[in-house]
Symmetry: C2
Subunit: 487 residues, 2 copies
């Protein structure tokens, strides 16, 4: 991504609003924007944050080239003094974010931008594009990996991804959330993640017959010999020919370590069981049986229940596009404006007929509350910045809508963790993104902080995201005062 400058990757209205702020306001006042999302994709009980490294690269690279400025001039919308401002544009603000691979929940700020309004406004679109995409694919992957119940899941979706980036950064997100490898070679190079793959039907078809094709493949890749068995007839031709080749390898004294078959069509439950029996009878009891045909978490789950003997899953289209829910729905909303006179942030709220679309005002932090004994998440608490909680105090949590729903936590029975970490300070990046495989390890631990009831695929328990008393009161005062002012 750093090879391309994405400064113009923005909605036009960000630029017209920027010029508006430039022309019509006395000051480029400091504001706070929160990026958050409203509901988990695919009916899941949580999401996985991903994309922060690319957001950081984007912010670092922000600058309008002469070419960009010339282009903007041609639109006829912008005046020279504003274009001159763009020429010198540099991001100068602070950014806080939840680290990649973290389990996240609706309505909590994933990224908080504190910056002059013109800068904070510009970054909205690209920031959302990146976070929405990668968090979506990471969350979908977590579902698929959960369904595979310990079997390896490979990301095989590049050809069905929504363009090159969707393939590249989708593979990145899939690795973060637990895939064991990707077929995407460029993603392997860029992110240092394992790449996987075998051969296609065209390999088989380019030889006079299937057996010859298998033999050539086995000769060349004896230590990674997964043969695709469905080109002509899986049980009558593919599996018997594969067994013949494995027998020949055994006779030649070749150690059979990573070998087996791939099923890519037909009734995977039936075929895998039949193939397993044939392989077992020939003495190949540890052969890999991999499958790869329009799989998703529901199908994998169903195949497991049917006793399919598949132990390796190649998941393509449905993962790389998050087919049942192909967008994440992250938004970016104004939360506060700095009052220069007082030096305090004035909280801002967006109203809506729809209660869940009303924003949380003010400068906020997120405190994650864990059960001290189990390490599992009890709830997330959105607080105002500066509020302090002590683990040695008791803590009363309450539902922000149905406020009579309360949870009392006794002192020293819980631990608290601040989720937002600073990534930019005065325009300078103060955060090192971990390697993708390290984020993957961290994500695995994160998933273990969820109760099993929040991980299940259907009707998961929804983790509570509560507001601190101070934030709840501020929000309700703002709501009341608006209605008072607008009878």
């Amino acid at each position: 991504m750093s090879q391309r400058n994405l400064t113009l990757l923005t909605d036009l209205y960000e630029l017209t609003m920027m010029q508006g702020y430039f022309k019509e306001k006395d000051a480029n006042e400091t504001v706070i924007f929160d990026a958050f999302y409203r509901s988990n994709p695919s009916g899941n009980g949580y999401a996985i944050s991903a994309g922060l490294e690319q957001v950081i690269e984007y912010i670092k690279d922000l600058s309008f080239s002469e070419d960009d400025v010339d282009y903007l001039r041609t639109t006829g919308l912008f005046e020279e003094d504003f274009l001159e401002y763009l020429r010198k544009f540099k991001f100068s603000g602070d950014i806080y974010a939840i680290p990649e691979g973290t389990v996240i929940f609706p309505r909590e700020p994933i990224i908080k931008v504190i910056a002059p309004i013109m800068e904070a406004q510009l970054v909205e679109t690209a920031l959302l594009t990146i976070i929405n995409h990668q968090s979506l694919i990471a969350t979908k992957t977590a579902r698929v990996v959960y369904a595979a119940a310990g079997d390896g899941v490979m990301e095989f979706g590049l050809r069905r991804a929504q363009g090159p980036d969707a393939g590249i950064y989708g593979a990145r997100a899939a690795m973060i959330a637990g895939c064991v490898g990707t077929s995407n070679v460029l993603a392997g190079k860029m992110f240092g993640v394992p790449i996987k793959g075998t051969h296609a039907h065209s390999w088989i078809m380019s030889f006079p017959d299937e057996l010859t094709a298998f033999r050539h493949y086995a000769k060349l890749y004896p230590t990674s010999c997964i043969l695709l068995v469905d080109t002509y007839d899986t049980l009558k031709s593919g599996v018997p020919n594969a067994i013949k080749v494995f027998q020949e390898m055994r006779e030649k004294g070749i150690a059979l370590t990573n070998y087996g078959i791939r099923l890519d069509s037909g009734d995977l439950a039936y075929l895998s069981k039949k193939a397993k029996r044939m392989l077992d009878e020939a003495g190949f009891t540890d052969a890999v049986i991999s499958a790869s045909n329009d799989l998703d978490e529901t199908l994998i789950n169903s195949l497991k229940i049917q006793g399919a003997t598949i132990n390796s899953w190649g998941v393509g289209t449905n993962l790389i596009t998050s087919k049942d829910c192909p967008s994440f729905g992250g938004v970016y909303k104004l939360a506060a404006v700095l009052d220069k006179k007082t030096g305090q942030f004035t909280p801002k709220i967006k109203l809506s007929e729809n209660a869940e679309k009303i924003t949380n005002p003010g400068n906020k932090e997120i405190k994650r509350i864990y059960n001290r004994e189990t390490g599992k998440i009890i709830a997330d608490l959105i607080c105002l910045t500066g509020e302090t909680l002590k683990e040695s105090d008791s803590l009363l949590l309450f539902d922000p809508i149905e406020t009579w729903k309360k949870t009392y936590l006794a002192p020293n029975t819980y631990t608290i963790r601040d989720l937002l970490v600073q990534v930019f300070k005065g325009g300078e990046c103060v955060y090192d993104s971990p390697a993708v495989m390290d984020i993957r390890e961290y994500c695995k631990k994160e998933l273990s902080t969820l109760w099993e009831e929040s991980r299940r695929l259907v009707n998961p328990h929804q983790v509570h995201v509560d507001l601190s008393k101070a934030l709840w009161e501020m929000k309700n005062q703002l709501l009341d005062s608006y209605h008072y002012n607008n009878p």
Copy 2:
């Protein structure tokens, strides 16, 4: 895209197969691969081809850098002689393709690659990624534009796109298929397409009140003054304040040309009708009423039926992700292998239990048959290369499965057009991609060659894609001979 080299944007198995061909075959034999798709997305009656320009750029740029080769070496899968081959790799084949913006149908080759097998194999993944993505979004857009029935549709989806490319090239595809503009500034710059937009809720919220925010916006953008009216209360606050501002503009003698309101939440049918009445009563009968809240073709259609007075549509998430069907399903299959001795292509077929997954063998062309009088498409006929049809002859079309379904065309009642054009010859590009706005014009004409019954959104008439008698016979001989050889 040309700023990045995408040579490694491929599935690993393309490279392992390439090495296989390199090591295990006597020759880098010339083959034919067809890229085609099996069913129209979203239950549509056709698709729109898009992405060819980016495929051409990708093919032109193909070359492995030292860095790429070094990375491949680290995988331990490749031998030095093969890596040396990659270092010198250059595409040397021929490519034929259906021009962008063309109406296309299932099972016909959109792109035909004739090249040494190693080269033809390498390009599979990226070619499919690009074509699948852009054709998907173009097809979805054609549906949305159809539902809007002459109103302008703007592409507003960047923030929900699956990564930067999905936003950029999705906007390109949306413009090809009939959007009047995009919010995506980078797409505007790259493709010379109109960019559109107004302001967000944050603009309103950053001012002390809505009226002040509107006044400032109107002052700055008097000739493009679409005011977002739902930040606080659409009918009690937003629309009255907008009318006040339009009145002030009128009083100042400002010509009101492109002005109006944008609805972004609530009941769009109800609100648009109420708003229209309020605007009309104040004398603003030509105000634009635009809407933009999770719209798609079904919702637009429903709003039209309900008499909503919206005349401009901003469509985001559902268009840029093709939400109901987020993948196109294009595949790339071996169709023939050149026999060096005879100089003839030996046709290849992929069998499947599933009749529609059986491929069409051989070196093929597509002839589109139009009704000479109406200019509407009668059918597409997939022929073997070299077959000649004369418009002065009669033509008998028949269904390739239910062969008793026949259509007889009398001489001189139809016209024939070859759909595939050559884009690469011996590795050199021989095709100039038209400008996106020119493809858009062409696409509009293409859509007019469809009968209305094939354009409707639900249960459209499926246009026939037939096989020539010669191709049909070759295919059935291959099918028979396979079963004969494998009793």
